[in-house]
């Protein structure tokens, strides 16, 4: 089959415990842009057990069609079970592009599929676009991602094999506004399982997250780094976050020091966030941290060291002691709120 015959943008609609994950909607938003630029359709792949009622939600968030595989074998994510179904959906539908969330599920599944299909996969993309090849005028899918710890960006092509596949971290792309009642097609897909390949089973799943709310959903983040020193320092940030109606997040240094839990960590090995306001307090701004927050709408940095790299990423920088400024700001804002 000629690569020109591969059409449509597929999205792996990740669900956990029957809940469609935010990253799936974010990918649909981007897939919509790509498909519109190509004049193709957006197709979501929804795998799970008792999940078919949620297919309409994917249509309202940008899918034209939803392929649903709904059976007990797919209740929990398992590499081989999911790989077989996604592989069958892709070989039946011949999409030009397939997108996955760069989560522990997507990053387990996508390379398995890439290797089975003998096609290219680009990890943790921060930008996906349809470009035009100068010489030929042809449309081309371009995936841009950080490399070398975020020091360098690379734009990757997959010229000769299809589908072209990419993963994107949660929080990087933006969801569309939900279009209630949007029309689309829901297609039930009956997988053919080769159960002889099922070699892994779940014995136990322990939910371990200590945070009820996800920092990726917060509109305002007050974030602390090494300069916050300790738990007491974070209490000051929490008081400020409370007044602002936001949440507290952390740099890697404070997670490694055991002061903050990993689920609050922003950056390359933590979460990608893009709140309306990101206040970086006592964070020096290593490139790995910047990678996780630089898309925030407005960034305020407070740091004692005027040469800290965080100031180059901030919209407003304050050279000073957060331990004095943050409590003063909290008190001042309390009065502002009372007005």
């Amino acid at each position: 089959m000629d690569i020109k015959d591969y059409k449509n943008v597929y999205v792996f609609a990740e669900q956990r415990g029957g809940m469609i994950q935010s990253v799936a909607y974010e990918l649909l938003g981007k897939a919509r842009d790509l498909a519109d630029a190509l004049g193709e359709k957006v197709v979501a792949m929804l795998l799970g057990h008792n999940v078919k009622d949620q297919a309409q939600s994917l249509i309202e968030m940008g899918a034209d069609e939803v392929l649903v595989a709904d059976c007990p074998e797919l209740k929990d994510y398992l590499t081989e079970q999911y790989s077989q179904v996604v592989y069958q959906m892709i070989t039946a539908g011949c999409p030009s592009i397939v997108l996955y969330g760069a989560t522990t599920i997507g990053r387990d599944l996508a390379p398995r599929i890439a290797s089975r299909l003998k096609t290219g996969l680009t990890a943790d993309c921060t930008k996906l676009e349809i470009g035009i090849v100068e010489e030929t005028g042809e449309k081309q899918f371009r995936s841009t991602r950080p490399a070398f710890g975020g020091n360098l960006m690379a734009t990757i092509l997959c010229p000769n094999t299809r589908p072209q596949m990419s993963t994107v971290r949660p929080g990087v792309m933006q969801k569309r506004v939900r279009e209630a009642g949007r029309k689309g097609t829901i297609t039930m897909f009956a997988p053919k399982f080769d159960t002889s390949k099922f070699k892994v089973k779940v014995i136990e799943t322990k939910m371990n997250c200590k945070c009820a709310d996800d920092i990726a959903d917060a509109k305002i983040l007050v974030s602390g780094g090494r300069g916050v020193h300790d738990k007491e320092g974070f209490n000051k940030l929490q008081a400020l976050a409370d007044v602002l109606g936001g949440m507290v997040s952390s740099s890697r240094a404070m997670v490694d020091a055991g002061i903050m839990d990993h689920c609050f960590q922003v950056g390359q090995t933590g979460k990608t966030v893009r709140p309306a306001l990101y206040m970086a307090c006592g964070i020096s701004g290593a490139i790995q941290h910047l990678a996780g927050m630089e898309e925030s709408d407005f960034i305020i940095a407070i740091n004692k060291d005027k040469y800290a790299p965080i100031f180059s990423a901030a919209d407003l920088g304050i050279v000073g002691d957060l331990h004095k400024i943050v409590p003063m700001l909290t008190e001042r804002l309390k009065k502002e709120v009372e007005k």
């Binding site: 390379p111 490399a147 710890g149 020091n151 094999t161 089973k201 306001l277 400024i325």
Partner: protein
């Protein structure tokens, strides 16, 4: 038990800088290290060796100087080291890399294959799962603990964003490991001395069970079209003022942006 550990030599990315004029990576003076997740994987293999008795073989693909991390692995306690080095491997993306590694592993006896979750230069986390697929083996990624049962099965703990899962794997498999879960042992002095007397086997493409057309650049479906240093947005205003003034500046900005 035979355990194979895949490791990679990487530049210490925390030390890398960009040449602001040429827009290229400055690698000079940047130390090369054993990739941290791979070192975690090697530690898991050595712990299993201590516990159950095992032969541990490390494999790396890279240029001749990657010999260094194999010597380090010897000094930590591995039994055999193989360097896949051949111009035919050059320019490989993750698919071609995983194919070459799988082609080498197919010629060896093994009960378990361990790799790091991802390398700090590429951060893709793709080579382990892609290799598992080439070998037709089950995989568990993001591994933080693994034990072997008497029947040859493995009980593996995996860390997800929101949970820790305990999984049972039937027979041979590929595990990709998190550095944070395994504090790697130091090389012993005697180990370091012996490491230089041991033989690192250097294998070219002809030693592997592969179709040479699927190696290196030729076997790589992805191509780097362009690379460029990260563009930071124009820096904003920075104030070095009294605390009282700083608070006023912030409050005014928050009002202006309708954040309060």
């Amino acid at each position: 038990m035979n355990i194979i550990v895949c490791i990679k030599q990487v530049p210490d990315t925390t030390e890398i800088k960009i040449d602001p004029v040429k827009n290229t990576l400055i690698r000079e003076g940047v130390p090369s290290i054993m990739n941290p997740d791979d070192k975690g994987g090697l530690e898991l293999a050595l712990q299993m060796k201590d516990k159950y008795g095992a032969n541990v073989t490390v494999i790396t693909m890279g240029p001749p100087q990657a010999d260094l991390i194999l010597r380090e692995a010897f000094a930590m306690g591995v039994d055999r080291a193989i360097l896949l080095s051949d111009r035919k491997f050059a320019g490989a993306d993750t698919l071609a890399t995983s194919y070459a590694l799988a082609g080498a592993i197919k010629t060896l006896d093994y009960d378990l294959i361990i790799a790091g979750r991802q390398a700090i230069d590429g951060d893709t986390a793709q080579v382990g799962p892609e290799m598992a697929e080439h070998l037709g083996l089950p995989q568990v990624s993001y591994v933080i603990d693994a034990e072997r049962e008497k029947n040859g099965n493995f009980i593996v703990k995996k860390e997800n964003e929101d949970s820790v899962q305990t999984l049972e794997v039937e027979g041979k498999c590929v595990l990709t490991v998190l550095a944070s879960a395994f504090e790697a042992r130091y090389m012993t002095v005697a180990g370091i001395v012996d490491a230089y007397d041991k033989e690192v086997e250097v294998w070219g493409a002809d030693k592997l069970d592969v179709d040479e057309n699927k190696l290196g650049l030729k076997g790589s479906p992805t191509k780097v079209w362009q690379s460029f240093p990260k563009q930071l947005k124009a820096p904003g205003e920075v104030f070095e003022v009294s605390e009282e003034e700083a608070v006023e500046i912030i409050v005014n900005k928050l009002k202006e942006k309708h954040l309060i």
